[in-house]
Symmetry: C2
Subunit: 419 residues, 2 copies
């Protein structure tokens, strides 16, 4: 046995065979104490394996910890071994296990950092991605992988209104850890960072404390920090036809290894919430194009009522104004383009420059073509969206999300065949 | 009706009397949709009122948002009115209500920012405190309140090993919001900051994503980011005798208005987790004085086994080393002094200087005498604790926590009588 479930560790009494096996050398195991009551939901695991990676169409969990990494590895072989080690650890952690035996030998550093011991799996998903810089950096083919670059993994280009901070943008690799317990998600990113030592180091990280987007049709739409329901018209991960149309990279992808993958865009969107909070309700509602309390479009009464972009008042004014966010973001005004969002609210204390709360939305979206989907939509929004007065995009990243892996394999394995 | 429970808002159908009453002007109310399933636990409120403030002996909730404020008010009357307004809002929010009607009049900014609409009360507690600077700043009696200063509300003084950042230390006022949903806690601090406009502004804020300390005897001990159970020997808020002995300010307090209050100390403790993670297990365990897996003292087998500080190995070595954290922190080695801890794990991204994770423990404790309790214990720890190699205190604050209020009253009301 080389790994324990976090629960097994806890429920293993000191006198059980398991307890004795691992308690050698004078090391006691955990005891149940009162933990049982906090471990009511043990069935809450999401399989790591599959045609696609988990954490994309998976019903959005409550909390996020996101990490972007810079590779310090110098060969494709080292990158491959990192992804293999990460995959093994992710398989263990998403199943509710530690990444190694606990307690482990006393004369070695613990293989698992331990803070998730006693916590349930919490529907943890871990999703890995590759940045364009893995394939080319400053014109250099760092790892000899340039010929295997996914076709659309090219810089998004400058977008209107953004004010990006390079040190919290992009990255060679990314790890998106979503879970219903933030400590479980934190534990995952931390232990992957630890396993990466010598091959990659954390470049930036972001904690998301509350989900906004629903990713399946049975999830309630929650509210973002502007107080509005966010993501009412999101794509739904349980609609396979829409996923094939908008999210999964299809058979037209020349890089065979990348088929069934997708592209992830992240944007750290700072909200100027103090300014927003001073705005009158009717202005807020015209800015979004929805009623705040119900989430209904201004042309409807219920959240999911259809949006009538052509409706006008008796005075001839558009009911949903020309600059309203939902008009500019609507697929009917964007050539039918849509994206699968998975956003989380964040707060990181006080902005030292303005003295205001540094808070907003860590926007994550998935699509099969970031340039005709996210970029096209954002280009319109960045120019005309009335919301721009109250938000600013401060970081940006694009990652190719490889397809899922099979038991015994590892993420992006196809990238390395014959290298 | 001037406030709605967040749930009432959601469950009020469009055609109900309540819905009609509030839907005037074309504003639709929220609908149930699928929300009901996420509102299973509606009874999870903690009363704001009582002899003592809530959030001290209350069983520790899962999440924390903490805010420290600088007063911009110029008179005691303005401070009093702020505390009155804050109390009214806290009473509403801890009961699961919004701070004002929703949707409210369209031509005004919304009174409530809205992001907690649809979320249950989540055992929200809001605890208010006053810093020493309310009573004296740079030798000046800013508000004419110096004569009413709680007897022990004096600076903690420099402590060994700390490296404090002034901009995230101290403050005139504090708000500790604890809840089982971080969005509910965030909403509370944000809306109180909003209500304070013109009288106080946020100085610093801290999100705590996971509780460590148990504050009652029926709470399981959770793990901090060093992977150890934290707070096994914490005082228990449901032990009234210990609370009177160690936490509540008693009849010896000359300021009558402050009796039944307490003192809060906060310390943002950065953990150097990369260095910690490289340390071997047996060193980690000797540093703490406990086994990592079980939480048992090195002289025991189970978490709650007694600590034997005099036990020696066959070689004559102390089993719990001289510099072990639990030895130096133990009440028997500190003249019997104890404190009630309520700490939370935090992470705030990457330290731009070191490139390491900026993560650790936001330590909060309550005691009736911060100088003979927290300071005396920390002075010993700061000098000798083996843990100092792996942690550093980066912020510090001391607040007088007034007693609880009664319905119709407000927090610290006694401070202002005859002013």
């Amino acid at each position: 046995m080389d790994e324990l479930t976090r629960r097994q560790l806890i429920v293993a009494g000191g006198g059980s065979a398991l307890g004795v096996a691992l308690a050698g050398g004078g090391y006691a195991l955990g005891h149940r104490d009162g933990e049982q009551s906090e471990l009511a939901s043990q069935q809450d695991t999401v399989s790591f394996h599959g045609l696609h990676q988990a954490g994309i169409v998976t019903p959005a969990q409550d909390r996020l910890v996101f990490g972007a990494f810079d590779l310090t590895a110098e060969t494709a072989g080292e990158v491959r071994e990192l992804l293999r080690a990460w995959t093994d650890a992710a398989v263990a952690m998403t199943a509710g296990h530690t990444v190694g035996p606990i307690p482990g030998p006393p004369e070695s550093p613990p293989v698992d950092t331990g803070e998730a011991v006693g916590l349930p799996a919490s529907q943890l998903t871990i999703t890995f991605g590759l940045g364009a810089s893995v394939f080319e950096r400053n014109g250099e083919d760092r790892f000899g992988l340039a010929a295997r670059r996914p076709a659309l993994l090219a810089p998004l280009g400058a977008l209107p209104g953004e004010q990006l901070e390079a040190q919290i943008s992009e990255g060679d690799l990314c790890v998106q850890a979503c879970a219903n317990d933030p400590q479980v998600a934190f534990h995952a990113v931390r232990n992957l960072a630890r396993l990466a030592r010598g091959a990659a180091s954390l470049r930036w990280a972001q904690l998301g404390f509350g989900r906004t987007s629903s990713t399946t049709s049975d999830q309630v739409t929650l509210r973002n920090l502007q107080g509005f329901k966010d993501g009412t018209n999101n794509l739904r991960g349980n609609d396979e036809q829409e996923m094939r149309k908008f999210v999964w990279v299809g058979p037209d992808e020349p890089q065979r290894w990348f088929r069934d993958g997708t592209y992830m865009v992240t944007r750290r969107i700072r909200m100027f919430i103090e300014a927003w909070d001073r705005d009158q309700l009717s202005d807020q509602e015209r800015t979004i194009g929805r009623f705040k309390a119900s989430g209904a479009p201004l042309t409807g009464h219920r959240e999911h009522d259809p949006i009538d972009l052509s409706a006008r008042t008796a005075d001839g004014e558009l009911v949903i104004p020309a600059k309203a966010h939902i008009r500019l973001a609507s697929s009917s005004d964007n050539g039918g383009q849509r994206i699968l969002r998975r956003g989380y609210s964040f707060t990181d204390g006080i902005d030292p420059v303005t003295g205001e709360l540094d808070a907003g939305l860590f926007f994550v979206c998935f699509q099969r073509n970031p340039h005709t989907q996210f970029v096209a939509i954002q280009r319109r929004l960045g120019v005309s969206d009335g919301l721009n007065e109250y938000i600013q995009h401060r970081s940006s990243a694009l990652f190719a999300i490889p397809p899922g892996s099979r038991p015994g394999g590892f993420v992006a394995q196809g990238l390395f065949s014959n290298t």
